[in-house]
Symmetry: C2
Protein backbone atom coordinates (compact mmCIF):
# COMPACT_ATOMS: atom_id res chain seq x y z
CA UNK A 1 0.00 0.00 0.00
CA UNK A 2 1.05 3.55 -0.60
CA UNK A 3 1.74 6.11 2.04
CA UNK A 4 -0.44 8.95 0.86
CA UNK A 5 -0.72 11.53 3.49
CA UNK A 6 2.09 12.93 5.48
CA UNK A 7 3.61 15.71 3.43
CA UNK A 8 2.23 18.08 0.84
CA UNK A 9 5.49 18.26 -1.08
CA UNK A 10 6.05 14.62 -1.92
CA UNK A 11 6.48 11.37 -0.03
CA UNK A 12 7.92 11.68 3.47
CA UNK A 13 11.46 10.55 4.14
CA UNK A 14 11.46 6.85 4.88
CA UNK A 15 12.12 5.25 8.23
CA UNK A 16 15.84 5.14 8.87
CA UNK A 17 17.64 2.09 10.20
CA UNK A 18 16.75 -1.57 9.87
CA UNK A 19 13.12 -1.57 8.69
CA UNK A 20 13.30 -5.29 7.93
CA UNK A 21 13.11 -5.92 11.67
CA UNK A 22 9.51 -4.75 12.11
CA UNK A 23 7.15 -7.51 13.27
CA UNK A 24 4.86 -9.01 10.63
CA UNK A 25 1.41 -7.40 10.49
CA UNK A 26 -0.21 -10.62 11.75
CA UNK A 27 1.94 -10.43 14.87
CA UNK A 28 1.31 -6.69 15.30
CA UNK A 29 -2.40 -7.34 15.06
CA UNK A 30 -2.34 -10.20 17.59
CA UNK A 31 -0.25 -8.12 19.98
CA UNK A 32 -2.57 -5.12 19.70
CA UNK A 33 -5.68 -7.25 20.28
CA UNK A 34 -4.03 -8.85 23.28
CA UNK A 35 -2.95 -5.53 24.78
CA UNK A 36 -6.31 -3.76 24.66
CA UNK A 37 -9.63 -4.54 26.34
CA UNK A 38 -12.14 -2.13 24.91
CA UNK A 39 -13.37 -2.19 21.33
CA UNK A 40 -16.08 -1.07 18.95
CA UNK A 41 -18.25 -3.94 17.78
CA UNK A 42 -20.25 -3.62 14.59
CA UNK A 43 -23.39 -5.70 14.03
CA UNK A 44 -26.30 -5.54 11.57
CA UNK A 45 -29.66 -3.95 12.32
CA UNK A 46 -32.92 -5.44 11.09
CA UNK A 47 -32.76 -2.99 8.18
CA UNK A 48 -29.24 -4.15 7.30
CA UNK A 49 -27.44 -1.08 8.59
CA UNK A 50 -24.08 -1.57 10.31
CA UNK A 51 -24.40 -0.64 13.99
CA UNK A 52 -21.37 0.29 16.10
CA UNK A 53 -21.32 -0.14 19.88
CA UNK A 54 -18.81 -0.18 22.73
CA UNK A 55 -17.73 -3.53 24.23
CA UNK A 56 -15.22 -4.84 26.74
CA UNK A 57 -13.41 -8.00 25.66
CA UNK A 58 -10.63 -10.47 26.34
CA UNK A 59 -8.91 -12.66 23.76
CA UNK A 60 -9.07 -16.44 23.45
CA UNK A 61 -5.69 -18.21 22.96
CA UNK A 62 -6.36 -17.75 19.22
CA UNK A 63 -6.86 -14.00 19.52
CA UNK A 64 -10.64 -14.13 19.12
CA UNK A 65 -12.38 -11.36 21.11
CA UNK A 66 -14.79 -12.66 23.75
CA UNK A 67 -17.62 -10.41 24.99
CA UNK A 68 -20.29 -10.71 27.68
CA UNK A 69 -23.34 -8.78 26.52
CA UNK A 70 -26.89 -8.03 27.65
CA UNK A 71 -29.98 -9.32 25.87
CA UNK A 72 -31.31 -5.77 26.12
CA UNK A 73 -28.42 -4.28 24.15
CA UNK A 74 -28.76 -3.62 20.42
CA UNK A 75 -25.64 -5.59 19.49
CA UNK A 76 -27.04 -8.71 21.16
CA UNK A 77 -30.43 -8.31 19.49
CA UNK A 78 -28.58 -7.89 16.19
CA UNK A 79 -26.22 -10.85 16.73
CA UNK A 80 -29.10 -13.19 17.54
CA UNK A 81 -30.62 -12.30 14.16
CA UNK A 82 -27.44 -12.19 12.03
CA UNK A 83 -24.01 -13.38 13.16
CA UNK A 84 -22.04 -11.13 10.78
CA UNK A 85 -19.96 -8.66 12.79
CA UNK A 86 -16.62 -6.96 13.22
CA UNK A 87 -14.54 -5.83 16.16
CA UNK A 88 -12.39 -2.69 15.83
CA UNK A 89 -9.47 -2.48 18.25
CA UNK A 90 -7.43 0.72 18.34
CA UNK A 91 -4.28 1.68 20.17
CA UNK A 92 -4.93 4.54 22.61
CA UNK A 93 -4.04 7.92 21.07
CA UNK A 94 -1.90 10.17 23.29
CA UNK A 95 -3.27 13.70 23.77
CA UNK A 96 -2.29 15.88 20.83
CA UNK A 97 -1.14 12.95 18.67
CA UNK A 98 -2.46 12.32 15.18
CA UNK A 99 -5.10 9.56 15.50
CA UNK A 100 -4.43 8.44 11.94
CA UNK A 101 -0.87 7.61 12.96
CA UNK A 102 -2.04 5.11 15.59
CA UNK A 103 -2.35 1.38 15.01
CA UNK A 104 -5.70 -0.38 14.77
CA UNK A 105 -7.20 -3.58 13.44
CA UNK A 106 -10.61 -4.73 12.35
CA UNK A 107 -11.50 -8.38 12.89
CA UNK A 108 -14.29 -9.27 10.45
CA UNK A 109 -16.17 -12.50 11.08
CA UNK A 110 -19.08 -14.17 12.80
CA UNK A 111 -20.25 -13.98 16.39
CA UNK A 112 -20.66 -17.41 17.97
CA UNK A 113 -22.54 -17.75 21.26
CA UNK A 114 -21.04 -19.91 24.00
CA UNK A 115 -23.36 -22.49 25.51
CA UNK A 116 -20.96 -22.41 28.44
CA UNK A 117 -18.03 -20.03 28.50
CA UNK A 118 -14.76 -21.78 29.49
CA UNK A 119 -13.82 -21.02 33.10
CA UNK A 120 -10.43 -19.62 32.17
CA UNK A 121 -11.97 -17.10 29.75
CA UNK A 122 -14.53 -16.02 32.33
CA UNK A 123 -11.74 -15.57 34.87
CA UNK A 124 -9.57 -13.67 32.39
CA UNK A 125 -12.50 -11.41 31.53
CA UNK A 126 -13.16 -10.60 35.19
CA UNK A 127 -9.47 -10.09 35.79
CA UNK A 128 -9.25 -7.51 33.01
CA UNK A 129 -12.70 -5.98 33.65
CA UNK A 130 -13.32 -6.05 37.41
CA UNK A 131 -16.52 -4.01 37.16
CA UNK A 132 -18.00 -6.84 35.08
CA UNK A 133 -18.42 -8.82 38.30
CA UNK A 134 -21.62 -6.87 38.83
CA UNK A 135 -23.28 -8.22 35.70
CA UNK A 136 -21.63 -11.38 34.31
CA UNK A 137 -23.95 -13.67 36.25
CA UNK A 138 -27.15 -11.87 35.33
CA UNK A 139 -29.33 -14.21 33.34
CA UNK A 140 -29.82 -11.70 30.55
CA UNK A 141 -26.08 -11.65 29.80
CA UNK A 142 -24.53 -14.11 27.38
CA UNK A 143 -20.98 -14.85 26.22
CA UNK A 144 -19.93 -14.68 22.58
CA UNK A 145 -16.71 -14.80 20.60
CA UNK A 146 -15.92 -13.35 17.21
CA UNK A 147 -14.44 -15.97 14.88
CA UNK A 148 -12.53 -13.91 12.31
CA UNK A 149 -12.59 -14.65 8.61
CA UNK A 150 -10.48 -11.61 7.64
CA UNK A 151 -8.35 -9.10 9.50
CA UNK A 152 -7.62 -5.56 8.37
CA UNK A 153 -4.54 -4.05 10.00
CA UNK A 154 -3.58 -0.38 9.79
CA UNK A 155 -0.14 0.23 11.28
CA UNK A 156 1.14 3.23 13.08
CA UNK A 157 3.79 3.95 10.48
CA UNK A 158 1.77 4.52 7.35
CA UNK A 159 1.20 0.94 6.32
CA UNK A 160 -1.90 -1.25 6.06
CA UNK A 161 -2.71 -4.76 4.94
CA UNK A 162 -5.24 -7.57 4.95
CA UNK A 163 -4.05 -10.37 7.19
CA UNK A 164 -5.46 -13.85 6.63
CA UNK A 165 -7.40 -15.30 9.55
CA UNK A 166 -5.04 -18.31 9.80
CA UNK A 167 -1.99 -16.02 9.87
CA UNK A 168 -3.68 -13.98 12.59
CA UNK A 169 -4.64 -16.90 14.80
CA UNK A 170 -1.25 -18.60 14.29
CA UNK A 171 0.75 -15.49 15.25
CA UNK A 172 1.99 -15.06 18.82
CA UNK A 173 1.39 -11.82 20.73
CA UNK A 174 4.63 -9.99 21.46
CA UNK A 175 5.91 -11.09 24.92
CA UNK A 176 7.43 -7.61 25.38
CA UNK A 177 4.04 -5.93 24.86
CA UNK A 178 2.99 -5.64 28.52
CA UNK A 179 6.31 -4.03 29.52
CA UNK A 180 6.90 -1.94 26.37
CA UNK A 181 5.54 1.32 27.77
CA UNK A 182 7.65 1.05 30.89
CA UNK A 183 10.78 0.27 28.88
CA UNK A 184 10.23 3.33 26.66
CA UNK A 185 9.71 5.56 29.70
CA UNK A 186 12.84 4.22 31.32
CA UNK A 187 14.98 4.70 28.20
CA UNK A 188 13.62 8.21 27.65
CA UNK A 189 13.98 9.28 31.27
CA UNK A 190 17.34 7.72 32.10
CA UNK A 191 19.13 6.81 28.87
CA UNK A 192 18.40 9.61 26.45
CA UNK A 193 22.04 9.85 25.38
CA UNK A 194 21.93 6.16 24.41
CA UNK A 195 18.79 6.75 22.33
CA UNK A 196 20.59 9.53 20.50
CA UNK A 197 23.64 7.38 19.88
CA UNK A 198 21.50 4.57 18.42
CA UNK A 199 19.96 7.11 16.01
CA UNK A 200 23.30 8.63 15.04
CA UNK A 201 25.40 5.50 14.77
CA UNK A 202 23.04 2.61 14.05
CA UNK A 203 20.44 4.42 11.92
CA UNK A 204 22.92 6.69 10.15
CA UNK A 205 21.20 9.91 11.26
CA UNK A 206 24.54 11.46 12.18
CA UNK A 207 23.12 14.99 12.60
CA UNK A 208 20.38 13.87 15.02
CA UNK A 209 19.99 16.13 18.07
CA UNK A 210 17.53 14.11 20.17
CA UNK A 211 15.80 10.74 20.07
CA UNK A 212 12.78 9.37 21.94
CA UNK A 213 11.91 5.68 22.11
CA UNK A 214 8.26 5.36 21.07
CA UNK A 215 7.88 1.60 20.60
CA UNK A 216 9.70 -1.60 21.47
CA UNK A 217 8.98 -5.20 20.58
CA UNK A 218 10.80 -8.51 20.61
CA UNK A 219 12.77 -7.64 17.46
CA UNK A 220 13.84 -4.07 18.19
CA UNK A 221 12.58 -0.56 18.82
CA UNK A 222 11.47 2.68 17.15
CA UNK A 223 12.88 6.15 17.83
CA UNK A 224 11.33 9.53 17.07
CA UNK A 225 14.45 11.45 16.05
CA UNK A 226 15.00 15.21 15.83
CA UNK A 227 17.30 16.40 13.04
CA UNK A 228 18.03 19.86 11.60
CA UNK A 229 15.97 18.81 8.56
CA UNK A 230 12.96 17.86 10.71
CA UNK A 231 11.59 14.80 12.48
CA UNK A 232 12.44 11.27 11.36
CA UNK A 233 11.72 7.84 12.65
CA UNK A 234 14.37 5.18 13.06
CA UNK A 235 14.09 1.45 13.54
CA UNK A 236 16.85 -0.30 15.50
CA UNK A 237 17.03 -4.11 15.49
CA UNK A 238 18.17 -6.31 18.35
CA UNK A 239 20.82 -8.84 17.33
CA UNK A 240 18.32 -11.59 18.12
CA UNK A 241 14.69 -11.68 19.29
CA UNK A 242 14.14 -11.14 23.02
CA UNK A 243 11.32 -12.37 25.22
CA UNK A 244 11.77 -10.75 28.62
CA UNK A 245 12.46 -7.30 30.01
CA UNK A 246 15.84 -8.53 31.27
CA UNK A 247 16.75 -9.59 27.74
CA UNK A 248 15.75 -6.14 26.46
CA UNK A 249 18.09 -4.60 29.01
CA UNK A 250 20.97 -6.82 27.85
CA UNK A 251 20.15 -6.10 24.20
CA UNK A 252 20.18 -2.29 24.56
CA UNK A 253 23.46 -2.48 26.51
CA UNK A 254 24.94 -4.62 23.72
CA UNK A 255 23.76 -2.11 21.11
CA UNK A 256 25.41 0.71 23.03
CA UNK A 257 28.70 -1.20 23.10
CA UNK A 258 28.29 -1.74 19.37
CA UNK A 259 27.82 2.03 18.87
CA UNK A 260 30.97 2.80 20.84
CA UNK A 261 33.05 0.29 18.96
CA UNK A 262 31.86 1.74 15.64
CA UNK A 263 32.65 5.27 16.83
CA UNK A 264 36.16 4.12 17.73
CA UNK A 265 36.64 2.86 14.17
CA UNK A 266 36.80 5.86 11.79
CA UNK A 267 34.79 5.31 8.62
CA UNK A 268 32.73 2.51 10.12
CA UNK A 269 28.99 2.85 9.54
CA UNK A 270 26.03 0.62 10.00
CA UNK A 271 25.72 -0.06 6.28
CA UNK A 272 29.35 -1.15 6.00
CA UNK A 273 29.14 -3.57 8.89
Amino acid sequence: MTDHGYTSGGPPPGIAGDTSSFPADAEYARSLAQAQGRASMSTLTAEGYPFGSVVSYVCTPLGEPVVCISAMAEHTINALRDSRASVLIAEPVPPGADPLASARLTLVGDLVRYEQVPDELRAAFLDQHPSARYYVDYTDFSWWRLVPTAVRFVGGFGHMSWVGAPQYTDAQPDPIGPSAEGICHHMNDDHRAANLMYAQVLAGLSDATDATMVAVDRYGFVLDVQTPAGGRQARIAFSEPVSTGEQVRAAVVALLADCRSRQATPGSTHSSS
Copy 2:
Protein backbone atom coordinates in the same frame (compact mmCIF):
# COMPACT_ATOMS: atom_id res chain seq x y z
CA MET B 1 -35.21 1.36 30.30
CA THR B 2 -34.06 -0.83 33.10
CA ASP B 3 -30.82 -0.49 34.94
CA HIS B 4 -29.59 -4.05 35.09
CA GLY B 5 -26.06 -4.14 36.17
CA TYR B 6 -24.53 -2.34 39.03
CA THR B 7 -25.14 -4.45 42.10
CA SER B 8 -25.47 -8.14 42.64
CA GLY B 9 -27.94 -7.74 45.51
CA GLY B 10 -30.70 -5.81 43.78
CA PRO B 11 -31.08 -2.51 41.98
CA PRO B 12 -28.62 0.22 42.96
CA PRO B 13 -29.79 3.18 45.01
CA GLY B 14 -31.19 5.84 42.73
CA ILE B 15 -29.61 9.17 41.99
CA ALA B 16 -30.33 11.61 44.80
CA GLY B 17 -31.43 15.19 44.25
CA ASP B 18 -33.34 16.69 41.35
CA THR B 19 -33.17 14.06 38.61
CA SER B 20 -35.80 15.92 36.57
CA SER B 21 -33.12 18.46 35.69
CA PHE B 22 -31.03 16.12 33.52
CA PRO B 23 -30.83 17.20 29.87
CA ALA B 24 -32.98 15.28 27.41
CA ASP B 25 -31.19 12.41 25.68
CA ALA B 26 -31.38 14.24 22.34
CA GLU B 27 -29.47 17.14 23.84
CA TYR B 28 -26.98 14.85 25.58
CA ALA B 29 -26.36 13.11 22.28
CA ARG B 30 -25.88 16.39 20.35
CA SER B 31 -23.54 17.69 23.06
CA LEU B 32 -21.46 14.52 23.07
CA ALA B 33 -21.15 14.50 19.27
CA GLN B 34 -20.13 18.16 19.32
CA ALA B 35 -17.54 17.64 22.07
CA GLN B 36 -15.66 14.74 20.48
CA GLY B 37 -13.69 14.49 17.23
CA ARG B 38 -12.78 10.85 16.83
CA ALA B 39 -15.26 8.07 16.16
CA SER B 40 -15.72 4.54 14.91
CA MET B 41 -17.49 4.40 11.57
CA SER B 42 -19.22 1.22 10.47
CA THR B 43 -19.77 0.48 6.78
CA LEU B 44 -20.73 -2.64 4.80
CA THR B 45 -18.25 -4.90 3.03
CA ALA B 46 -19.00 -6.48 -0.36
CA GLU B 47 -20.06 -9.62 1.53
CA GLY B 48 -22.48 -7.60 3.70
CA TYR B 49 -20.38 -7.71 6.86
CA PRO B 50 -20.33 -4.61 9.07
CA PHE B 51 -16.83 -3.11 9.05
CA GLY B 52 -15.61 -0.79 11.80
CA SER B 53 -12.87 1.80 11.24
CA VAL B 54 -11.42 4.86 12.94
CA VAL B 55 -12.32 8.33 11.65
CA SER B 56 -11.81 11.96 12.61
CA TYR B 57 -14.90 14.15 12.22
CA VAL B 58 -16.52 17.50 12.86
CA CYS B 59 -20.24 18.16 13.13
CA THR B 60 -22.42 20.15 10.75
CA PRO B 61 -24.79 22.67 12.40
CA LEU B 62 -27.32 19.78 12.49
CA GLY B 63 -24.94 17.47 14.33
CA GLU B 64 -24.14 15.30 11.30
CA PRO B 65 -20.57 13.94 11.42
CA VAL B 66 -18.40 15.06 8.48
CA VAL B 67 -15.37 12.97 7.50
CA CYS B 68 -12.58 13.35 4.97
CA ILE B 69 -11.52 9.89 3.82
CA SER B 70 -9.15 8.26 1.36
CA ALA B 71 -10.27 6.33 -1.70
CA MET B 72 -7.79 3.64 -0.63
CA ALA B 73 -9.48 3.08 2.74
CA GLU B 74 -11.96 0.27 3.21
CA HIS B 75 -14.71 2.53 4.59
CA THR B 76 -14.59 4.66 1.43
CA ILE B 77 -14.64 1.63 -0.87
CA ASN B 78 -17.60 0.37 1.16
CA ALA B 79 -19.48 3.69 1.18
CA LEU B 80 -19.18 4.07 -2.59
CA ARG B 81 -20.90 0.69 -2.96
CA ASP B 82 -23.51 1.02 -0.17
CA SER B 83 -24.31 4.21 1.72
CA ARG B 84 -25.62 2.47 4.86
CA ALA B 85 -23.38 3.30 7.81
CA SER B 86 -23.20 4.30 11.44
CA VAL B 87 -20.91 6.49 13.51
CA LEU B 88 -20.20 5.56 17.13
CA ILE B 89 -19.07 8.42 19.35
CA ALA B 90 -17.95 7.65 22.89
CA GLU B 91 -16.99 9.84 25.79
CA PRO B 92 -13.34 9.27 26.79
CA VAL B 93 -13.06 6.79 29.68
CA PRO B 94 -10.78 7.90 32.52
CA PRO B 95 -8.12 5.35 33.51
CA GLY B 96 -9.61 2.79 35.87
CA ALA B 97 -13.20 3.85 35.22
CA ASP B 98 -15.91 1.43 34.13
CA PRO B 99 -16.28 1.88 30.34
CA LEU B 100 -19.90 0.74 30.51
CA ALA B 101 -20.63 3.75 32.74
CA SER B 102 -19.50 6.20 30.06
CA ALA B 103 -21.83 7.93 27.61
CA ARG B 104 -21.90 7.06 23.92
CA LEU B 105 -24.16 7.37 20.93
CA THR B 106 -24.57 5.60 17.63
CA LEU B 107 -25.78 7.65 14.67
CA VAL B 108 -27.31 5.24 12.14
CA GLY B 109 -27.94 6.55 8.64
CA ASP B 110 -26.55 7.07 5.17
CA LEU B 111 -23.23 8.51 4.04
CA VAL B 112 -23.66 11.30 1.50
CA ARG B 113 -20.67 12.51 -0.48
CA TYR B 114 -20.10 16.23 -0.86
CA GLU B 115 -19.54 17.48 -4.40
CA GLN B 116 -17.91 20.46 -2.72
CA VAL B 117 -17.53 20.62 1.04
CA PRO B 118 -18.68 23.98 2.49
CA ASP B 119 -15.71 26.21 3.34
CA GLU B 120 -16.76 26.60 6.97
CA LEU B 121 -16.89 22.82 7.48
CA ARG B 122 -13.49 22.38 5.88
CA ALA B 123 -12.10 25.13 8.12
CA ALA B 124 -13.74 23.63 11.21
CA PHE B 125 -12.32 20.22 10.33
CA LEU B 126 -8.80 21.58 9.96
CA ASP B 127 -9.18 23.60 13.14
CA GLN B 128 -10.10 20.48 15.13
CA HIS B 129 -7.71 18.15 13.27
CA PRO B 130 -4.58 20.13 12.39
CA SER B 131 -2.71 17.08 11.12
CA ALA B 132 -5.38 16.72 8.42
CA ARG B 133 -3.75 19.63 6.58
CA TYR B 134 -1.31 17.08 5.18
CA TYR B 135 -4.00 15.14 3.34
CA VAL B 136 -7.27 17.06 2.88
CA ASP B 137 -6.22 18.37 -0.53
CA TYR B 138 -5.01 15.06 -1.87
CA THR B 139 -7.14 14.10 -4.84
CA ASP B 140 -7.88 10.65 -3.45
CA PHE B 141 -9.60 12.15 -0.38
CA SER B 142 -13.28 12.99 -0.42
CA TRP B 143 -15.70 14.59 2.03
CA TRP B 144 -18.81 12.84 3.30
CA ARG B 145 -21.45 13.42 5.96
CA LEU B 146 -23.59 10.91 7.77
CA VAL B 147 -27.29 11.84 7.57
CA PRO B 148 -28.83 10.06 10.56
CA THR B 149 -32.13 8.23 10.41
CA ALA B 150 -31.97 6.95 14.00
CA VAL B 151 -29.83 7.68 17.04
CA ARG B 152 -29.10 5.27 19.85
CA PHE B 153 -27.97 6.97 23.05
CA VAL B 154 -26.51 5.17 26.06
CA GLY B 155 -26.05 7.52 29.00
CA GLY B 156 -23.45 7.48 31.69
CA PHE B 157 -25.97 6.92 34.45
CA GLY B 158 -27.53 3.62 33.51
CA HIS B 159 -30.03 4.81 30.95
CA MET B 160 -30.43 4.32 27.21
CA SER B 161 -32.91 5.30 24.54
CA TRP B 162 -33.59 5.64 20.84
CA VAL B 163 -33.67 9.31 19.87
CA GLY B 164 -35.51 10.31 16.70
CA ALA B 165 -33.34 11.91 14.03
CA PRO B 166 -35.48 15.11 14.05
CA GLN B 167 -35.16 15.40 17.82
CA TYR B 168 -31.41 14.94 17.48
CA THR B 169 -30.89 17.51 14.74
CA ASP B 170 -33.25 20.02 16.44
CA ALA B 171 -31.48 19.78 19.81
CA GLN B 172 -28.81 22.32 20.70
CA PRO B 173 -25.40 21.23 22.02
CA ASP B 174 -24.87 22.29 25.62
CA PRO B 175 -23.11 25.70 25.63
CA ILE B 176 -21.38 24.71 28.88
CA GLY B 177 -19.86 21.61 27.27
CA PRO B 178 -16.48 23.08 26.27
CA SER B 179 -15.87 24.49 29.77
CA ALA B 180 -17.44 21.66 31.79
CA GLU B 181 -14.21 19.82 32.56
CA GLY B 182 -12.50 23.00 33.77
CA ILE B 183 -15.48 23.89 35.95
CA CYS B 184 -15.46 20.44 37.57
CA HIS B 185 -11.71 20.66 38.23
CA HIS B 186 -12.10 24.11 39.75
CA MET B 187 -14.96 23.06 42.01
CA ASN B 188 -13.14 19.90 43.12
CA ASP B 189 -9.82 21.64 43.72
CA ASP B 190 -11.01 24.86 45.33
CA HIS B 191 -14.60 24.40 46.50
CA ARG B 192 -14.83 20.88 47.84
CA ALA B 193 -16.66 22.02 50.96
CA ALA B 194 -19.33 23.59 48.75
CA ASN B 195 -19.73 20.32 46.81
CA LEU B 196 -20.26 18.50 50.10
CA MET B 197 -22.82 21.04 51.27
CA TYR B 198 -24.80 20.68 48.02
CA ALA B 199 -24.90 16.92 48.56
CA GLN B 200 -25.89 17.19 52.22
CA VAL B 201 -28.39 20.00 52.01
CA LEU B 202 -29.78 20.04 48.47
CA ALA B 203 -29.70 16.31 47.70
CA GLY B 204 -30.67 15.20 51.21
CA LEU B 205 -27.56 13.03 51.69
CA SER B 206 -27.04 14.43 55.17
CA ASP B 207 -24.42 11.84 56.15
CA ALA B 208 -22.24 12.50 53.07
CA THR B 209 -18.53 12.79 53.86
CA ASP B 210 -17.16 13.96 50.48
CA ALA B 211 -18.47 14.99 47.08
CA THR B 212 -16.78 15.34 43.70
CA MET B 213 -18.33 17.18 40.75
CA VAL B 214 -18.21 14.82 37.78
CA ALA B 215 -20.44 16.57 35.24
CA VAL B 216 -22.00 19.97 34.67
CA ASP B 217 -24.39 21.20 32.00
CA ARG B 218 -26.66 24.17 31.45
CA TYR B 219 -29.30 22.79 33.84
CA GLY B 220 -27.17 21.67 36.77
CA PHE B 221 -24.45 19.27 37.83
CA VAL B 222 -23.72 15.75 39.07
CA LEU B 223 -21.79 14.83 42.20
CA ASP B 224 -20.13 11.54 43.11
CA VAL B 225 -20.89 11.42 46.83
CA GLN B 226 -19.24 9.34 49.56
CA THR B 227 -21.54 8.17 52.36
CA PRO B 228 -21.07 5.64 55.18
CA ALA B 229 -23.39 3.31 53.19
CA GLY B 230 -21.24 3.60 50.03
CA GLY B 231 -21.05 5.76 46.92
CA ARG B 232 -24.08 7.64 45.58
CA GLN B 233 -24.63 10.10 42.83
CA ALA B 234 -26.54 13.32 43.26
CA ARG B 235 -28.03 15.70 40.72
CA ILE B 236 -28.25 19.37 41.68
CA ALA B 237 -30.33 21.75 39.52
CA PHE B 238 -29.56 25.39 38.80
CA SER B 239 -32.50 27.68 39.47
CA GLU B 240 -32.57 28.48 35.75
CA PRO B 241 -30.57 27.32 32.72
CA VAL B 242 -27.16 28.95 32.26
CA SER B 243 -25.22 29.52 29.07
CA THR B 244 -21.78 30.83 30.09
CA GLY B 245 -19.08 29.97 32.59
CA GLU B 246 -19.76 33.25 34.37
CA GLN B 247 -23.41 32.25 34.81
CA VAL B 248 -22.29 28.88 36.22
CA ARG B 249 -20.18 30.75 38.77
CA ALA B 250 -23.14 32.90 39.79
CA ALA B 251 -25.40 29.84 39.94
CA VAL B 252 -23.13 27.79 42.23
CA VAL B 253 -22.69 30.83 44.51
CA ALA B 254 -26.48 31.22 44.67
CA LEU B 255 -26.86 27.51 45.50
CA LEU B 256 -24.37 27.85 48.33
CA ALA B 257 -26.32 30.79 49.75
CA ASP B 258 -29.44 28.64 49.45
CA CYS B 259 -27.72 25.84 51.40
CA ARG B 260 -26.72 28.22 54.18
CA SER B 261 -30.17 29.71 54.49
CA ARG B 262 -31.68 26.21 54.74
CA GLN B 263 -29.13 25.21 57.36
CA ALA B 264 -30.13 28.31 59.36
CA THR B 265 -33.76 27.15 59.28
CA PRO B 266 -34.09 23.94 61.36
CA GLY B 267 -36.23 21.30 59.66
CA SER B 268 -35.92 22.80 56.19
CA THR B 269 -35.03 20.33 53.44
CA HIS B 270 -34.92 20.42 49.68
CA SER B 271 -38.10 18.39 49.29
CA SER B 272 -40.03 20.79 51.51
CA SER B 273 -39.00 23.88 49.56
